[in-house]
Amino acid sequence: MMRYKTMENRSRMKRQVIFFLFLVSLLGLVSLLAPYLITNDPYTTNALYRKGPPNLTFPFGTDKLGRCIFSRVIMGTRTSVFSALMVVAVSLTTGTAFGIISGYYGGLLDRVIMGICDIFLAFPQMVLAIGVAGLLGGNMTNAILALTLTGWTSYARLSRGLVMTMKKETYISAARLSGSGNIEIMLEHIFPGIAGELIINATLQISAVMIGFAGLSYLGIGVSVPEAEWGSMISEAIGYMQQAPWAVMAPGAALFITVFVFQLLGDSLRDYFGVGRGRYE
């Protein structure tokens, strides 16, 4: 049964979208300005104050090498936000390109591309990502590559489906009659029509990608050790959690908050525009 959205409801949703956009841009700002926000150098070790509790110089305490956890968490924002946006942007563009081509031309090309999709979908995403990142060796580029390889299929399938319904529209035929070529039709008439839905789906995926990225780093196959990244910080500090719980809690809380904010932005966008994954998913 359809419940009608009242005007009041709409404006509340709009306020939500704006609020979460504000929070997300705040996070973006933190990651951009990270080098100016930190209180200490995130890589300098301090032999005299190891596993130290939070104090005025070290707001979140120090880890086992005496490095400032606050500065490392702030620098980690950069790694996390940057890598997640990178993964989503690359898988969105490649996935959409394949999906549009597949849906537009159909036939053998469609079957080949969807066949490749099926191969990638024969695994849970995280399993595939762990496999690829583990085999290629742990560094940031490989982790991004692994998550992109697993992420593009959902955009390919989504855009293919959208294109298949859209290509029957009269305005596509009109464009063809007026002499537009295939590529022109795909770029100028089909792509703008499906871009909105794809972008909202991409926003919804950012948080999942962040979790995946941190998970890879936690397993030691994401960002390599000295680099400040929340997943690897947690994995490093879990060994001495008993003596210095702050070394786990600070990056953990940062990860949770960041993922949460992106998740809420995605949810509110989906509710506002009424598209994307099923309403009750």
């Binding site: 049964m1 419940r3 066949g115 490749i116 099926d118 191969i119 024969a122 695994f123 849970p124 995403q125 995280m126 399993v127 762990i130 496999g131 690829v132 583990g134 085999l135 290629l136 060796g137 948080s207 979790i211 941190a214 998970g215 936690y218 397993l219 997943g231 947690i234 994995s235 879990i238 959690m241 008993q242 719980p245 786990v248 953990g252 990860l255 949770f256 993922v259 949460f260 998740q263 809420l264 099923g278 309403r279 009750y280 998913e281």
Partner: protein
């Protein structure tokens, strides 16, 4: 129905070819030499001669396409090869590990159901009350907590603060609790959201008013009408969650040292024990595709209105 199932199973064959072929390609392209890993693990000094000799012994001097062909040939005879590391048959190790992952996944799912059904139903009936708000918060937070972070927090709470559970699970019943809880909580938050939404949705339906008007008892309506109709969307979430559950179990098993498939594959990747990785890939793909097929079939069993397949 039979045609649909056999069709879906036939579709699996080209997928499995592709999956195993790509894995072979990836394994041969990946940095790291299994021979070197094996020799240094056994404490043998790695000289050029020894390296060449062992490589020949293991059949690794042949090009990978040829090795893929012979692997396929063995597979048709039910042989998944032997582990590079200790020479044990891969199939046996897989079966053992599958048992442990199966136990973990099933108990996590059951626990998630036990948590989410009452919470979801309560939230659906007493909409917008204080408890419902709390339940909704739990649902939202469940999305945003990465599995490994939850594991760390639970370890901190149960093993370090309360000291009631061992940190290392090692496949015992006691050790099952924490990994299960870690896997179940995020799943439960998804399911609760779904149950709540479908109960809310179904309550507005006219058949519910009709049943009430006929004097059917409320608990009866809830269980036999509302929940039955809600099952379909719950099943959808379950289907969507299988991937997350299996993927999550890889991470969780490694944290708690639970001897399942995820632990096995991580160890094998580090040790470059390729036959085990290869076998894992095959089995995982088959399991995943078949579970999805079962979910699809049960839609039709639960909702006779759907097209006959």
């Amino acid at each position: 129905m039979k045609r649909y199932v056999s069709g879906r199973l036939l579709q699996l064959i080209p997928v499995l070819f592709g999956v195993t072929f790509l894995t072979f390609a990836l394994l041969s392209l990946a940095p790291g030499d299994p021979v070197q890993k094996k020799l240094s693990a056994q404490g043998i000094a790695v000289t050029k001669d020894v390296l060449l000799e062992t490589r020949k012994e293991m059949g690794l001097d042949r090009p990978w396409t040829l090795r893929y062909a012979s692997w396929l040939f063995d597979l048709l005879h039910g042989d998944l090869g032997d582990s590079y590391k200790d020479g044990t048959p891969v199939a046996g190790r897989l079966v053992k590990a599958m048992k442990y992952t199966g136990i973990l996944a099933i108990s996590a799912f059951l626990l998630a159901l036990v948590i989410s059904l009452p919470l979801g139903i309560y939230g659906g009936i007493k909409k917008a009350g204080f408890l419902d708000r709390m339940i909704q918060l739990f649902c939202l937070a469940g999305y945003a907590v990465p599995g490994f972070l939850l594991a760390v927090l639970l370890i901190y709470l149960f093993c370090i603060r309360l000291k009631v559970f061992p940190i290392i699970a090692k496949g015992t019943v006691q050790g099952l609790f924490l990994p299960t809880l870690t896997l179940a909580l995020p799943l439960a938050s998804r399911l609760t959201r779904q149950v709540r939404a479908s109960v809310l949705n179904q309550m507005e339906m006219e058949y519910v008013d009709g049943a009430k008007a006929r004097g059917v008892l409320k608990p009866y309506i809830l269980i036999f009408h509302i929940l039955r109709n809600a099952m379909i969307s719950i099943l959808t979430v379950f289907g969507l969650s299988i991937g997350t559950l299996l993927g999550g179990s890889v991470v969780i098993e490694n944290i708690f040292m639970w001897p399942g498939m995820g632990k096995m594959v991580m160890d094998s990747i580090t040790a470059r024990d390729y036959p085990v990785v290869q076998g894992f890939v095959l089995v995982m793909a088959v399991i995943y595709v078949i579970i999805n097929l079962i979910v699809d079939i049960s839609y039709h069993l639960l909702d006779p209105r759907l097209e006959e397949i």
